[in-house]
Structure formats: C-alpha cells, structure tokens
C-alpha cells in the first residue's frame, strides 16, 4: 500500500516537475506524519498543489482528510515531514505560521462564525486587527465580499439569525476579506440541510472560476466532477490515489477507492 501511494505521488510530481521549477507550488507536503496517541492520522503523505489548482480530497471517515488540510494552516501541528505553503516552510516557528495563515483562508464544517458579533463585525475583525485597515476600508471590503456571496442585506444581523447556508457564505466572505491565496474547505456543506448545500457550492464554484487555489474536503461528488482539477483519495492516513475527476470516477485504480465510490454514488 505504501509503495503504491509513493508511486502515485511520485508520478504526479514527475509530470509537473518542469513548470514547478519556475513556479513555487501553493502547497508541498513531503512525508508528513501526524499521530494522535497510537492512531496515525497522516501516514507519510506527499502532496503537491500548483497555484490555481482545485483539489478535492475525499475518502472514508477517519481517513485523515480533515487532518490533512488542517495541517496546511497549522491548526493541527504535523509531527514529521515537511510542509511548504507558497514556499514558506511550516516549521512550527511563530512568524512562519503567521505568514502561512495570512496566505490561507479556511472554511469549517460548523461555520465557526463569532456568535457575539454581527456579520459585518465578523468580516472586519481580521482586516482591522491583523492588516491594520481603517474601519471604513474594512467595511467596504467586507461589503464587497458579502455582495459576492449574495448576502449584503444581512450585514447587520447576528450569525444566529441566519440559516446554515447563509452562515457558511458569511464564513467564506470572512475568509476572503483577508485576501487569501489559498482557500481550505473542511467539509463545508456537511452540516447543512440539503436545500442549502447548493447555495454554498455555487459560491465555491464562483471562487474556483476566478482562479483561487482551493483544497476542499467534501463528499459532494457532483462538485468534485465539475470543479476539481484533481481528486485526492485518502484511506487510513495515506494518499491512496490521485487523478483527474473523470479518470477517478470512471476508472479508480485502487480497490478501496472502488468500494468507496460504490458506497457514496447511488
């Protein structure tokens, strides 16, 4: 199994090696391990994501997909291996962690909006305190992105007054206000009622069309097929397979991916 994942990861690197000599990849992970006690959440993971690339990470629950993307902005500390984000090494040094977090935006399954602040306050907090923007500038920026996710009229409301889909779109706008180069989505639609999934996916598609580098953990295979440049399939902490969506869905190479697809596509 480990040999296979090595081969596939190695192969992908080989193909993309030339252009990436000139351009620093958005994300580069080399032999990354993450343990929780005895449990190995990430087991020698290699991954390279080019700028502008859209990656969908999928796999059964407990396969390490969330851990993978949470390591990219150091919400989880990896135990071994190397992670570079836009050429900055995540070596547990404060200034590098801060630099990486400024380059990345994250959207969580449970939204994690600040419940004691209005939508607008949620959006302007980081631009004002981290980027040092004036309140007026930050508000303009926030309204720009709230308009983009189509909820400018909710700016003065509190998160608790919004539907799940609206809250998640606010969370996307809030992340965008820091002008990230890479967006990380950790199961952004899993906590939503079915009728609200679409509005969030539409927002993400729009972002993808604008050329944002995206890594998205999701079970929405329709979205993966339509938007992803590459699907990364994980199982038991390893990247088992990565391929273009068409190929992955039509012709999964590993047995594990085949059974996974059988189970989720009806």
């Amino acid at each position: 199994m480990s040999e296979m994942s090595m081969n596939i990861a190695g192969g992908a690197e080989g193909v993309a090696a030339q252009p990436q000599l000139r351009e620093v990849p958005a994300v580069r992970m080399e032999a990354v391990y993450k343990h929780y006690g005895d449990f190995t959440a990430l087991n020698e993971v290699d991954l390279k994501v080019a700028k502008g690339e859209k990656i969908v990470v999928c796999g059964p629950s407990g396969s390490g997909k969330s851990t993978l993307i949470r390591c990219i902005n150091h919400i989880e500390k990896h135990d071994e291996g190397l992670i570079y984000v836009n050429g900055i090494e995540l070596d547990h040094q404060r200034k590098n962690i801060d630099a990486v977090r400024r380059d990345t935006g994250m959207v969580f399954q449970s939204f994690n909006l600040f419940p004691h602040m209005t939508v607008l306050e949620n959006c302007i907090l980081a631009p004002m305190t981290v980027s040092g923007m004036s309140q007026a500038e930050a508000k303009d920026l926030a309204m720009h992105f709230l308009t983009k996710v189509r909820i400018p009229d909710q700016a003065e409301k509190f998160p608790g007054q919004l539907s799940g889909g609206q809250q998640q779109r606010v969370a996307i706008a809030r992340a965008l206000c820091m002008r990230p180069k890479i967006m990380l989505f950790d199961e952004p639609t899993s906590a939503l009622d079915p009728e609200m999934v679409k509005e969030v996916l539409e927002t993400m598609k729009k972002l993808a069309e604008e050329g944002m580098t995206m890594l998205c953990v999701t079970h929405e295979m329709g979205f993966a097929r339509e938007v992803a440049d590459r699907i990364v399939f994980m199982n038991e902490g390893k990247v088992v397979e990565q391929a273009a969506p068409e190929e992955f869905f039509k012709n999964p190479k590993s047995e594990r991916a085949r059974t996974f697809l059988d189970q989720i596509i009806h």
């Binding site: 969580f108 419940p115 004691h116 608790g160």
Partner: protein, 243 residues
C-alpha cells in the same frame, strides 16, 4: 425596651455612623471583586496552561483557599502574619484576605467560562491569523464572560455578605458598626433590622445589575443562536417566501 421599636429601627437605618459602615462594606466588596477578578483570571490562565508547574500551583491555590474558612484566612493574615514580621493595616488585611479567597472561586468560574467556548472559535481565529491577544480579547473573552455572569453573580452575592467576617478583625464595616451600636444601646433587634435591610438592599441592587448584565451580554447569545439555528429550515423558507 421589652418590645421591638420600629421607630428605633428606622432611626438606626438612617444613622450616619451605620451608613458609613455600609460604604465600607460596598468598598470592600467592589475592591475584592476587582482584585479577585484580576487575580482569579491569572489563576485561571495558569490552571489552563500546559505548563505543569503553573497549573500545579494554581490547582494548589484553588484547593487551599476554597478548602479553608475565610474566617481563618482573615485571622491568620491579621494576627498570624505579624508574628513573622509581616504587618498590614486592618483594611489591607481584610482586602488581602477577601481578594485571595475570592480569586480562588472566581478562577474556577473564569475557567469554566473559557472551557465552554468551543474549540472551533479559537480555530477560526487562528485561521484568520488573529494574534493570541486579539483572539482572547475579541473572540474568547466576550463569549466566556457571558457564560460567567450567572455564577459570577452568585459569587459576588456571597462575597457581599462575606465581608461581614472582616468585622472579626475589627474592620468597621456594616456588621461591626451594628455590633458597636448594639453594645451601646442594647437594641439588638432594632439594630440588626437596620443592618439586615441594608444587606437586602445591597444584594437586591446587585441582582438588578446582574440581570442587566445578562441582558446586555446576551443580546446575541449562543442560547438564542442555537434556538434560531435549530429552526433554521423554517427561517430559511420564510426568508425565501418573502423574497
């Protein structure tokens, strides 16, 4: 003198000497709350620290001050410490004792408040690259504080009455001055009726303040959010219907 005299009680209530005692009681309470909150916050942060020395010390502190009577603590500070050459004024002794004691209780309240703020809130703050200070001041503290208000209110109510223990080390607060009046005139019921009325007024005022605080910090409360979130599908359809 053989029966209760309401007039005497009313007179004691408006007695200037007693009123000054009330001011001392209020002063002791306010100072102990402020001092206790600052120290308690520090103790709570130490308790939550991953450093075993800090969390161990804080655990010991809380165990010690919650496990011994305030009365002993006050007496030891007032008459015990001078034996070791440490001498404070009476009022300082009372304040040191009340603050040290109150901090132990408040530390646990502060800690429970912070623990109740979900990890996702901190993660969201990190992901937005907020500094630890901004995360604390703008994200976790306001949410923790809202959760702290009810137990905080309780603790402050107890503290207000616990200041009466300072009378033992001769701080002339409400209780002590009541005793002094009582010993002068032997109108036990009348004097204590006035003192009781003052304590009730003070605790009632605090109750009202607490209710206002709860209302103010609860205006976007998580409890309300949860309720709305639970009925989100309904809310959504009504929004759509209007649109």
């Amino acid at each position: 003198m053989s029966h209760f005299s309401p007039t005497a009680a009313v007179n004691y209530f408006f007695n200037y000497f007693l009123m000054k005692g009330v001011l001392v009681t209020i002063g002791l309470t306010v100072a102990a709350v402020i001092g206790g909150l600052i120290l308690g916050m520090g103790i709570a942060l130490m308790r939550m620290s991953s450093n075993p020395v800090l969390s161990g010390f804080s655990r010991f502190y809380i165990w010690f001050f919650r496990g011994t009577p305030l009365l002993i603590q006050l007496v030891v500070i007032y008459s015990g410490l001078p034996q070791l050459g440490i001498k404070f004024s009476v009022i300082t002794c009372a304040l040191v004792g009340l603050i040290l004691n109150e901090a132990a209780y408040l530390a646990e309240i502060v800690r429970s408040g912070f623990m109740a703020v979900s990890a996702g809130q901190r993660e969201a703050a990190w992901a937005l690259s907020l500094s630890p200070w901004t995360t604390f001041r703008r994200v976790t503290l306001p949410q923790a504080f809202r959760l702290m208000i009810p137990p905080l209110g309780n603790s402050i109510n107890s503290l207000l009455k616990a200041t009466s223990l300072a009378s033992v080390i001769s701080v002339e607060e409400l209780m002590r001055r009541s005793d002094m009046l009582m010993q002068e005139h032997f109108q036990i019921l009348e004097v204590y009726a006035a003192a009781t009325a003052y304590y009730l007024i003070l605790t009632s005022v605090w109750d009202a303040v607490q209710r206002r605080l709860e209302k103010h910090f609860g205006r976007s409360s998580a409890a309300k959010s949860r309720r709305v979130a639970a009925s989100a599908p309904v809310a959504q359809t009504s929004v759509e219907a209007r649109a």
